[in-house]
């Protein structure tokens, strides 16, 4: 009886820990994203190429890249496995990737701000699964144009 409880108890305990801390972490992450997005509003992002202006002689280009690796908690991963049975949208992963992209763009904007640039051109965003599905890497890169 005891060993049965232990063998069933562990996974459930892990799921519970994942559920509790995961929720807090996601909420904190969203709050942080909202705050940074407001703070960095003045930096403009363009995914078109820089066309050039008359003032080009005074402009310098700086390549920027920002990446992060995110993962979801065990509870959500468990839910995702259930979703696999019924089909439909993986809401947890949708949300994870959305937060990841926002975070990557915020990091890109922070780098531009530190340089003193207000525009980032030709932004590319991509994601890759790493560590055998443990995490998802989101990479954003672009070129900051700054007048000197």
């Amino acid at each position: 009886m005891m060993s049965f409880l232990l063998s069933v108890g562990w996974p459930i305990l892990l799921l519970l820990i994942g559920w509790m801390f995961g929720r807090i972490k996601i909420r904190n992450h969203r709050t942080r994203l909202d705050r940074f997005e407001t703070d960095l509003k003045q930096i403009r992002l363009h995914n078109v190429k820089y066309k050039g202006t008359n003032n080009d002689a005074n402009m310098t280009a700086h390549m920027l890249n920002a990446s992060l690796v995110l993962s979801i908690d065990v509870f959500q991963r468990f839910l995702a496995t259930l979703t696999q049975l019924t089909g439909g949208e993986h809401c947890n992963y949708t949300d994870l990737l959305d937060r990841g992209r926002r975070d990557a763009l915020i990091r890109l904007k922070t780098q531009a701000k530190n340089l003193g640039a207000n525009d980032i051109y030709n932004i590319k965003i991509q994601s890759a699964s790493i560590g055998a599905g443990k995490g998802i890497e989101i990479l954003a890169y672009g070129t900051a144009i700054k007048s000197t």
Partner: protein
């Protein structure tokens, strides 16, 4: 710090591309050590950012860029334009970071 100008635009503002020297590339395949892998697995329970991985990939990508810049310098280029990154999983614990671009001479 190298003085090669890097950009993922096709030209550099305020500068004229005089010579195209061709494709330059840099890559690296990295795996992290087991200690960090275990730490990441624990982190995986609660989710959130896996800082060890973020750091590893950022460092590795910088290494790939450095290799590309080295190749460009060997060709006598002073800028690399139209840079692209790509990441792929080559085996369970390792990823390849690849970066490529066109080496050019600008003035």
């Amino acid at each position: 710090m190298s003085d090669v100008i890097l950009t993922n635009l096709e030209h550099i503002p305020g500068k004229q591309v005089t010579t195209h020297l061709g494709l330059v590339q840099g890559n690296t395949v990295r795996a992290k050590h087991i200690g960090r892998d275990i730490a990441s697995s624990l982190k995986n329970i609660v989710g959130g950012e896996l800082h060890a991985y973020t750091e590893l990939l950022t460092d590795s990508r910088q290494q790939a860029v450095d290799r590309m810049v080295e190749a460009a310098e060997e060709m006598g280029a002073n800028a690399v334009v139209n840079i692209r990154f790509s990441t792929s999983s080559v085996s369970a614990g390792a990823s390849e970071l690849y970066v490529y671009g066109t080496a050019v001479i600008v003035d």
